[in-house]
Amino acid sequence: MIDDELKVTTRQRDGIWIIDLEGDVTTFAEEAITGAYEGVTKEGAKYIIINSRQSDYINSAGIAILIGVVTEVNRQAQKLAISGLSPHFQKIFRMVGLAQYADIFATEEEAIAAMQRHQQAAVESAQ
């Protein structure tokens, strides 16, 4: 009843990797989130969306885990977006400064559209 439960799954959509989080993002989430990120990176992910689904409890330990992912994303020259957060957690993520390193969107669809624009810009600059 009291234990944190987090379900983390990954999927690919139009060349963009999505890490879905369902449940509490707290200190207990570290292994699952970091493992999912490492998994999609091994698959060659360049564009990653962390999509929060029904996560109505994200605490500072969870934020620290996501900052750890941002650190790796910067090292790997990947692009990260975060979607599905409630307005409260969008506000918290902006307060913390995460929005400077990961675009934050209300919905997965908005995040996908933004990532596709980044993909297109990368293709054009490579030509």
Binding site: Y57, N59, I63, I67, G68, H88, G97, Y101
Partner: protein, 154 residues
């Protein structure tokens, strides 16, 4: 900033709720749910209730992890006191480890945190950002006591 001591309860004991929580992570959710149930009934907006939930979770988590060092024999005591002006939440631990007060004044910087091994340290800063008043003191038990106040907008 007004002194939260001056925001005295109206004397109605039904507006005081006290929780004694085991020092085990996860029990902070009981305090969060109690806080939001009380705040909703008092007429706080959804946004303010969400801020309160986050602040209470951070305070209780700190008490479990740092104050009581996860010692299951120790309790975290949370007292919610409603008044006409707002809600006072006192969170006290039994002080296996006293709070380093330099932490209470620290403003974390994400640029520095990204290059540091320690990605944490956001909890107390978040509480101070989200609540109207925050005080740190020593509890009668000898442990740490954090008092936070959230005012009703009138």
């Amino acid at each position: 900033m007004s002194n939260p001591q001056h925001m005295a309860p109206s004397g109605d004991e039904e507006r005081v709720i006290e929780l004694h929580l085991p020092s085990r992570l996860g029990y902070e959710k009981v305090a969060m749910d109690t806080a939001s149930a009380m705040a909703k009934r008092m007429g706080f907006s959804h946004d303010r209730v969400e801020s309160l939930r986050t602040a209470v979770s951070e305070a209780v988590t700190n008490a479990i992890e740092h104050g009581n060092q996860h010692d299951s024999a120790m309790k975290v005591v949370v007292v919610f006191t409603g008044s006409d002006d707002g809600l006072i939440v006192d969170v006290a631990d039994q002080g296996r480890k006293l709070l380093d007060h330099t932490i209470t004044e620290r403003t974390p910087d994400i640029h520095q945190v990204l290059h540091s091994d320690d990605k944490g340290g956001w909890g107390i800063w978040l509480i101070k950002e989200l609540m109207d008043e925050v005080q740190f003191s020593v509890a009668p038990s000898g442990g740490n006591k954090l008092r936070m106040v959230i005012h009703l907008d009138r």
